[in-house]
């Protein structure tokens, strides 16, 4: 079983990202379980969402404590939230940032990948300059970095789950898939 944690801010689409990813993995025949951090959400406040993926039915119904991958939708959260809390050594940390992975020396025990999802989202007119909607772009990058799901399944899930702007969201996911900066060192313990 693989567990993934998304960090975002209320209104950025972290919960929707986990739902789209769940749908994408489901399309490829996996069993999935996606849920938000159980709490009271406010726009702009740090939020978390989770997904479990397995080949078999998932019975476990607890919070996610030791994720295999972490996705950060908002670069300002890195300074505010302990985004690597419980993250397994060698696990993937995918950051939305305009910086390169080597700009984060404190995360060297993880496979750091970076993608400028905000710029990609804006180029495809998703959201506004102050509030780019990055959740679909980051999933394209996630597909490339982890290999857990194909980018085609992500695009199919976007078509199903996102209420509007399908073409722009799919184009953003594909562009992020192509432009994500992969970790320098190959994975050791990453599942």
């Amino acid at each position: 079983m693989v567990e993934i944690r998304f960090h975002g801010r209320g209104g950025q689409g972290a919960v929707v990202a986990s739902n789209i990813l769940a749908a994408a993995c489901f399309i490829e025949g996996k069993y999935v379980q996606a849920f938000p951090a159980f709490g009271v959400e406010r726009r702009g406040a740090p939020v978390e969402a989770y997904i479990r993926i397995d080949d078999r039915k998932i019975h476990l119904r607890t919070n996610v404590y030791t994720p295999d991958h972490v996705v950060v939708l908002d670069p300002t959260l890195i300074e505010v939230v302990d985004v690597t809390r419980g993250l397994k050594p060698g696990a993937t940390l995918l950051l939305n940032t305009d910086k390169l992975p080597n700009a984060y020396p404190r995360f060297t025990s993880f496979r750091v990948a970076t993608v400028d999802a905000s710029r990609i989202a804006l180029r495809h007119r998703l959201g506004s300059r102050t509030h780019p909607i990055v959740n679909t772009a980051i999933l394209g990058a996630f597909a490339r970095v982890t290999g857990l799901v194909s980018v085609d399944a992500v695009c199919e899930a976007i078509q199903e789950e996102v209420p509007s702007h399908h073409e722009a969201n799919i184009a953003a996911a594909r562009e992020a898939y192509e432009t994500v900066v992969l970790p320098e060192a190959p994975a050791e313990a990453a599942p």
Binding site: S18, N19, A22, A23, F26, Y31, V32, Q33, A34, F35, P36, F38, V40, I58, H59, L60, R61, T62, N63
Partner: protein, 386 residues
């Protein structure tokens, strides 16, 4: 069709499949996405029903009582304080023998304010005359709404389908959504025998003096006893038609064909986590049978005695508390077992109140305590931070 659905939306789609005619609800917290999606389905013309917006949960229950009195299949959903506000009307729905179905999302009672999973809200309505069915996963939630309508209409009592906050209500997972024609065959239109009809006026629910009242209560108790058998029949029929059945009491043995020395009784979504803990304990050479209790009202006394009676030790895990007594499921299970000569030692654990996580480690801990030298007690606490 198999698709990924949120628990709340699985309820909404089950209500759609049940061809419910009247929905009434109060939409503010602690309400969930259930009625939000139903309002959309009605507004979009997908569901041919009347959605009655009201000013409180008390009024929501009053509205569905009125609708069911007129012969309409009716639905509402609520949670914690909303359910508490319905309390008076819950008695009325049952006393009037109306087969209303409600989805009840288990959320804690305040103060302090807490919207997380805790069963004390639904269990506080234990004595209102409602059937209560507790669900383990999103598929069971969807299926149980359909089973609940058939059962409620069979015995003329209202039914509450109970699901844990967040662990089920806000969780997306794959669900098999049955086809409409299959559901229609399982759950035909409700045909009430007595309805409010201006063209054929009758008086309902009027004064019942001491001369008559007790027999009305006796009949409700009889209907509950009938509901025990009816539940098993309907559950079995659901299994034949859809390939899934659940049982009022479902034993999940550690090893097929064997009985472990210890049984762990769970309700709701904790059962799933208990399955995971059971597998981990088996690896360590510790055998625990999980016993999932789905039907709480009517209480399956005989089945509880039959299933739990032969064990040496029984753990009951309660995510609820009756202050001054203890875990409510444990209390009922002990009362049922008291009719047997030889009884297992019962370890009544209270855990996970107000949404505190019940993890496989929590379950391994209560198992270790029950198998160790923990003296039997009226209440045992797990995971307290004092």
């Amino acid at each position: 069709m198999r698709r990924v659905l949120e628990g709340s939306h699985a309820v909404s789609h089950a209500v759609e499949l049940a061809r419910v005619k009247v929905i009434s609800a109060y939409p503010i917290t602690p309400q969930t996405h259930i009625v939000e999606r139903l309002a959309e389905l009605v507004a979009d013309g997908v569901l041919d029903a009347r959605f009655i917006r009201v000013e409180s949960e008390h009024s929501a229950m009053a509205a569905v009582i009125g609708a069911a009195s007129a012969g309409a299949r009716s639905f509402t959903a609520s949670s914690s304080h909303g359910l508490a506000l319905m309390h008076e009307m819950l008695h009325w729905a049952a006393g009037a023998r109306l087969p209303v179905v409600m989805a009840e999302v288990n959320r804690a009672m305040g103060p302090g304010w807490n919207i997380w999973a805790d069963q004390t809200d639904s269990l506080s309505q234990r004595d209102t005359g409602w059937i209560q069915l507790y669900c383990e996963d999103v598929q069971e939630v969807l299926d149980t709404i359909l089973i609940a309508y058939k059962l409620a209409e069979r015995v003329s009592l209202p039914a509450m389908v109970v699901l844990d906050a967040f662990f089920l209500s806000h969780t997306y997972e794959p669900v098999e959504v049955p086809e409409q024609d299959e559901v229609d065959a399982f759950l035909p239109a409700w045909e009430p025998t007595e309805i409010l009809d201006p063209a054929d006026p009758h008086a309902f629910n009027q004064l019942a003096s001491p001369e008559y009242y007790m027999e009305f209560r006796y009949k409700i108790q009889q209907a509950m006893e009938d509901a025990l058998r009816a539940h098993d029949e309907i559950d079995a029929e659901f299994g034949r038609r859809f390939g899934r059945s659940y049982g009022a009491v479902h034993r999940i043995p550690c090893r097929e064909g064997e009985r472990a020395p210890l049984a762990l009784v769970t309700t709701g979504s904790v059962t799933g986590t208990a399955r995971v803990a059971q597998a981990a304990l088996r690896q360590k050479g510790i055998g625990v049978d999980v016993v999932k209790l789905k039907l709480f009202r009517p209480f399956p006394h005989e089945e509880i005695r039959r299933v739990l009676g032969p064990y040496d030790r029984v753990i009951v895990l309660d995510r609820n508390i009756s202050f001054g007594s203890g875990g409510i499921f444990a209390s009922e299970i002990r009362a049922a077992l008291a009719l047997r000569g030889e009884q297992p030692a019962v370890y009544p654990f209270v855990a996970g109140l107000g949404g505190r996580d019940i993890t496989p480690q929590t379950i391994e801990s209560v198992v270790a305590r029950a198998l160790g030298d923990e003296p039997p007690s009226d209440i045992l606490w797990e995971g307290l931070k004092l």
